[in-house]
């Protein structure tokens, strides 16, 4: 029976919001982890001279000499601290931070969750995870704007199973010496031009992100909690008329995966396992650099043909 991210907070409104967010995500964990959240002013903290690893407005500090991990949501909107090996994160969110709901969830608390679930063996990578109609798992790793969400939404409408369009976690596989992707379910978020190209009806306005969103099931797809990748694609920022693939070697695939999984360099206690997951993934799957072309909208099977 999988576990989940549990929440402890005395703030009723926040408790409800976080429960809904995490229930939607359906992240299946091998052991439970907990967000312990207070709402109030941030206490003065001693100065922390450790190097900063920055994710948007969140400054993350880890490693010696303190050994806790701290996440500061700037400018002084929230703070989280994770003690070494602890499966609970102590979080403070200011009243001002509460007003920025989208940023609080998708930036600050998502980063807290990413570092928290690392403690139970799940390692985040910015990637979409899908399963094709032949049952093969696919991972699309790349920056925002590279076409991950558009491709995921397109394939959702053509018989593929969908795990996530961006929030993927590498984990020990169900089979020996295999790395699986455990998926965070959220709405596939499309810009206006992608909505026109993919053509779905309905959708939920994601106002703060200026996009429209659909859960995979709303596009007719099955949502998948876990996928075993056999194909890895690294979409480039450029898009052309024609889709094309270039095979890449295992070590190149690992370094590219590291670019989209930069948490690998945080917290020495977990770095070995994280690196092993990336390496295992590159060994078990064929990897390609891909230019996603407009031809996919007319011929979604084109990618299957190129890979087979």
């Amino acid at each position: 029976m999988p576990h989940e991210v549990s929440v402890r907070t005395a703030h009723a409104g926040l408790a409800s919001l976080l429960r809904e967010w995490l229930d939607d995500a359906r992240l299946a964990l091998p052991r439970p982890v907990t967000l312990v959240v207070e709402v109030g002013p941030l206490p003065l903290s001693p100065s922390d001279s450790r190097d900063v690893f920055r994710q948007g407005n969140v400054a993350i500090r880890s490693g010696p000499p303190i050994h806790t991990v701290s996440l500061d949501w700037e400018p002084r909107l929230g703070r989280a601290v994770l003690a070494p090996q602890s499966t609970a994160a102590n979080v403070i969110i200011t009243e001002q931070g509460l007003q920025r709901e989208n940023e609080m969830l998708r930036s600050f608390l998502l980063n807290v969750c990413i570092l928290l679930v690392r403690r139970v063996g799940l390692h985040h990578v910015h990637a979409a995870a899908l399963r094709d109609p032949h049952g093969r798992g696919w991972l699309l790793a790349g920056t925002s704007g590279s076409g991950k969400s558009t491709t995921t939404a397109l394939f959702a409408r053509h018989g593929w199973g969908i795990g996530t369009d961006d929030i993927a976690f590498l984990a020990e596989g169900a089979a020996p010496r295999v790395t699986d992707v455990v998926c965070w379910r959220e709405r596939l978020a499309l810009h206006d031009d992608a909505v026109v190209a993919v053509g779905p009806d309905g959708g939920t306005p994601l106002t703060a992100r200026r996009k429209m969103g659909w859960f995979p099931e709303e596009l007719g797809a099955e949502w998948l909690s876990r996928i075993t990748p056999q194909v890895i694609l690294f979409p480039g920022a450029e898009h052309g008329d024609t889709t094309s693939l270039t095979p890449i070697k295992g070590r190149e695939a690992v370094t590219r995966l590291m670019r989209w999984s930069p948490w690998v360099a945080l917290e020495a206690d977990f770095a070995d396992e994280h690196l092993q997951r990336l390496s295992q993934l590159a060994s078990q799957a064929r990897a390609f650099e891909v230019t996603l072309g407009r031809d996919l909208f007319d011929s979604p099977d084109r990618l299957l043909e190129l890979v087979s």
């Binding site: 490693g63 295992g250 070590r251 370094t255 590291m258 930069p262 360099a265 020495a268 390496s279």
Partner: protein, 90 residues
């Protein structure tokens, strides 16, 4: 005095299809290394001299001792510059 080489404690190494990727946790930089580099870095889990490493590379690959020494020395110099490997005189 002999120079002993060892891995920096912040170094993490993983091998893929015989080649490798090295991550330095302190600087968060990562590097690709070829098969010979993986052999050397794996050996450096414990301190080694240039002579030890040259003998290992010459035995494992079809190269002359002189070519092996040149290759090992160049690789070690680059690794020391990148703080992947420590050199200690004893």
């Amino acid at each position: 005095m002999t120079t002993w080489y060892s891995r920096h404690p912040d170094l993490r190494l993983t091998a893929v299809d015989g080649e490798g990727v090295v991550l330095h946790l302190g600087s968060r930089r990562y590097f690709s290394v070829n098969e010979t580099g993986v052999t050397i870095l794996e050996a450096l889990a414990s301190p080694q001299t240039l002579i030890d490493l040259t003998a290992r590379v010459a035995a494992e690959y079809d190269v002359t001792a002189a070519a092996a020494e040149r290759s090992v020395r160049e690789f070690l110099d680059r690794c020391v510059d990148a703080h992947l490997v420590r050199a200690e005189e004893r």
